[in-house]
Amino acid sequence: MNNKPILTYAGAEQLFRSLESHIVSAIPLDTYEWRRPYGRPIKNVRLDAKFQQFSTEPLEKYRKGEWSIQEHPVLHIFITECNDIETYKTVIRDEIDTWLKTLQLYNIDDWMILLVETIDVRKTKNLIPRTTVLDKIRLDFASKSGDRCISVLNPAKFEQRSTESFRCLVQRIKHLMLVSYNKNIIKYEELIRAQREKRNHDGWSFLKYFLLQEELALILENLGLYTEALVQYDELDAMFSQFVTNSVFGEKHKWLETFRQQTASFPGISLKKKNKFKARDDIISGTITLIDFRNYLFERQCILLEQCDRTAEIGERLLPFLFSTLRELEVMKIEAPVGALSCWEFVCALEVLDICDRAMETKEVSCFQHCAPIWNLAKDKLYELGKLCGLLPGFTPTSEQLHTVVQLSAGIGDEPETEEMFVETQPQIEKKSHSPNRKPKKSSTQKLKDALGANEAFQKLYLELCELAISTYKHVSRLRSARLVGLDLGNFYCALNEPNKAVVFFTDLLRELKSENWNHLASQTLLELASCYRKMDDLLAYTKTCSTISCCLEMEILVRTFYFDEFLKSLKALKDHLTIDAGSNLNLALLEDHFKILGVKLLNEKLIIQDDFVVVQLKLDSYFPREVYAEKILLSFDMNSNVNEFTVNASLNESPILPISLHLDYKQDNTLACASVACETVKSKQPVRRTSSTRRKLSPTVRTDFTNSVCIECGVAIHPGVNVFELRCKAVRVGIWRFKQLSIHIDRIEFLSDRIPLKMDPFEITTKPASAVLSFKNLIAGIEQPVQLIVSGGSFIFPPDAKIVLKCSKHLKVRLRDASDDSLESQINIPLVAFKSFEERTIELDVLSELPGRSADKKIEHKVTLLCPWSRNEIEIPLHFLPALTTSCRLHTCGTQKFLHVCLKGLDGHLSLIEPKMTCEAVGVSLIDLNSKSPQQIEIYKNLTVSYLWELQVEPLKTETELPVIKVNFSAKYTNFDKPGVFRSFACSFDVTDYTTLFRIQAHIEPSELCRVGSVCSLHLKISKVHDNPFSDLMYEVLADQNMWAVCGRSAGVISMLDVECHSISLDVLPLSAGFLPLPNVRLSKYISSKSKTESRPKPLPFPPGQIYNSTKSIQIHVLAGANAEQ
């Protein structure tokens, strides 16, 4: 279709014709910048042109408003070669004037005046004329638009010099053309809009309107504005769709009747055909069919999309185009022969795929996304046609079906003549093609016809399309869709009786469906698989599939029981003629499909000791519709090698609740600023995930090591529903174990689980260590005490001559109670005669700790060390004894006589004491026993004190300076009161010091008989020296009970005994209460003047008790009630 812009010429027509070819060929040579109004983007366009003689005929239409933008001349040119001003004034000016007036009459101002100069060179050399004709023309006609007048050197005459001016001319023509287009397009758009407004008027026809708007599109396309051209087509498309849709709701348009015509021809789109505008002619003639119209519209859109470099969009638009066209055909009640529309869809699909294919091979990758569904559609349509024409595997076309094929082939139409351009480029594309299998391309129409012609061709094409659909879907990672195509392909292979090929697709689909728990669909796929395996005679796979189907809870129970029977039957068959390698995994089936592990519980209550039985309760839900008999049930466990994992899990197990804490932030004024809840996860970087977020894994189950497993070996029936089994095994190896995998053997089939789905604490198998402990109650020193040695053998294996060596610390002795020998030893051997593992034996012992020779009542610490046969290390056991008796000794004074008082205090145990003895080895010291001799034995028990008394006499010559310390030894014998036996002696030594009386204090009250409350008495103190001593300064203090006595004046004083034997002091005291009052106590202290400089004051030091004798101690005074009280 020749739609080059039209330019007209007038004036010197002969001259113009001589230039026309130059101009026409020069215009499209290069692009020109097109500045467009309304801020539309600047575009470089390549123009084309053709010239016509000026005539008013097209202008007439323009004035009426029925013009066509294509036929409307873009530019009118007046041409003259007049050089002479006079000639111009007389002739040319009038001609131009008339021409311009005509143009103005039609309201056109796209004109140009061209003055061709055929200059006489000699003339111009001599004088330059004052005014030229060009100036004149400009002055007369184009005072405002001087650029519309241009002069050019005649290129025919001045070949060299004219180049520049000729180029100027071409540029000017282009410029003016584009200026004209700017105006015309706007004007034409107005016209279109006006026409559109009339669309509901009677007599308006969409066809006419279509042609009107399409012209704009064509112009825009010509000018290289493909996107804008496409917009025009898209508008038309939408408008048409709307008309058709509205026609359903009763809108009646006469023009729609054109499209209602029935047709038997349903050719597909073809972008390669030579005569692209054939349909346009039909539109003009009003004989176009709906399918042709839609095809034409889509083809135009495709071409423009391709030009815009938006090839991917073609793919995107195809399916909506096909589906909406089908809807429209339905709405318009256009009957198509059966299969014709499928043919049409198929051809369209292949055509578009062809375009996309070409585009993709260069750059467009995004195309794939849209191509995949198109491949799928093509495949589906081909299948429909195959079914219709008896081309499916296993069918042969009947004569009726053959007739259909002929009809359909006719309906598709013949392959349209292709453009040569495509034919040329095709081999080149073929070279680039990645798939070496592709033969030189046949057209889509031809492909379809071939496929419909023969079963083999059909099958080949169908398989090819399926593979392409699958691979394209996979390429754009639409795996589910790919698998769905796989389902169709699998079914086709089944029909081809090639179930082994189908199985691949079915298993893929099954895996995909199962991984996302689409159980209903998965069970359907299982049925397909089962039939495949049966056809293949794959007994093992068939058995497994049957069992899985029988466990599909979604299926009807009839189906399930049928397959259950099949399962049992084929199990039996398997037994007869199949041996399965132990190493192969073929007989493994997924346990999760058949059973659900509800619980695994360790029944051992205590620690599991090596060689104990591990007992595990397994709760299992069986999906089988009936009872099955399992030979073995095994639950493997595995050494928990990863210690870290264990600890993490342990901490998780402790708190199944997330550690969520409340955070409150306060402002300074104690108002709440922010309240939030935070979760402190164990691993801060790891986000919290719900366990259900994990996708079911797709990798096949691997059989782990079942050497360590609890099991039922004897065979067991598994009922439908919940079953509880007890599995057991001997704990062989020590360690921390974790349950791993469950395996159920039913005949030859092994149902193997994934990891145990429940959270299970690991369990531990330990060895029990042998141990020896001493058992005793409070131990008392001095008496034989029973102690038990408890030996528990644990898992240690004892040699026949095993023994325990028991060693005691110092002062501790031990013996075996039932030993013949009665003596206590500090080390004994305890024989372990015929000691078995796990035996526990108690050995009775007696221990005796010596009483310490000191008067301490704190515990006596001993220890016992055991050397046991199971260990090289000694076991140390500390023992604490309480002494049975404590002894203390006090020195008493009576004047100068001295007495030793021994106190025995019973702490524990009931004892009898005999033979108390006090000895002193110092010369000149004698001890006089003052104890009564009558009771031989004295009983002593807890908290009872027994006292003995001796007088200590020191020869007067032996002064204290000679014997500052007298060592006395106390000894006694004791025996157990309840079981008198051996008397054990115990001894205790004491040191007696400061035993000489140095001072004597005497005190008396005067008057001694008439002491009254409230009346002052005088207290006379007499301090006399008994023995010579170096202490001269003494301090006395009267310490009176403040409730009884009040000391008037000083209660203390310092006296000097230097050179004085005796000192008397008198103090005033006041009795405060009546009755027998003890005399105020007097304390005498050494008054040591300080020797150091730091302490300036002298300080009193107390005397030891043996050096002072208070002769009036404890004397009481009878105080009468005071006289005042009587008054």
Partner: protein, 139 residues
């Protein structure tokens, strides 16, 4: 109006599927399953989604000769799929949008049931009744 309404869990396992035509149930389920491909494609974080990624309505996922499949994804990655009969040319996109909104409300109500375990199939009869109401257009 709608021939199938499906609710798919976040791990892509079906939680609820209602079909108007029992004969086509299998085919429709396959359609819904395949639609997940497109849902995943549209929800991919890398893709140039609209700046308003909070839009839950995914629009038309794909269409076949007989059906149009629309999708909707909640913030917790629960997918709603509605399969419409494409012979209804008067169907407006906004109607589908409001169907999804109503479905979302129903779903929220259903999972608020404290006895419902998230991730399990939805068996509530009341929910089923209401969803079938949406399907037939009597909301």
């Amino acid at each position: 109006m709608a021939v199938c309404i499906a609710i798919i869990g976040k791990d892509n396992s079906p939680q609820y599927i209602a079909t108007s035509d029992l004969d086509k149930e299998l085919e429709l389920q396959y359609r819904v399953h395949a639609a997940l491909d497109v849902v995943e494609e549209k929800c991919e974080p890398g893709t140039k989604t609209t700046p308003e990624s909070r839009e839950l309505y995914l629009g038309l996922l794909y269409s076949t000769e007989t059906h149009k499949i629309y999708g909707y994804v909640t913030n917790t990655k629960i997918k709603f799929i509605i399969v419409m009969d494409s012979s209804n040319t008067a169907l407006r996109e906004n109607e589908v949008r409001s169907m999804f909104r109503n479905l979302h409300i129903l779903y929220t109500d259903a999972v608020c049931n404290p006895f419902y375990i998230p991730g399990e199939p939805l068996n509530s009869k009341k929910f089923d009744k209401s969803v079938r109401g949406i399907m037939t257009g009597n909301i």
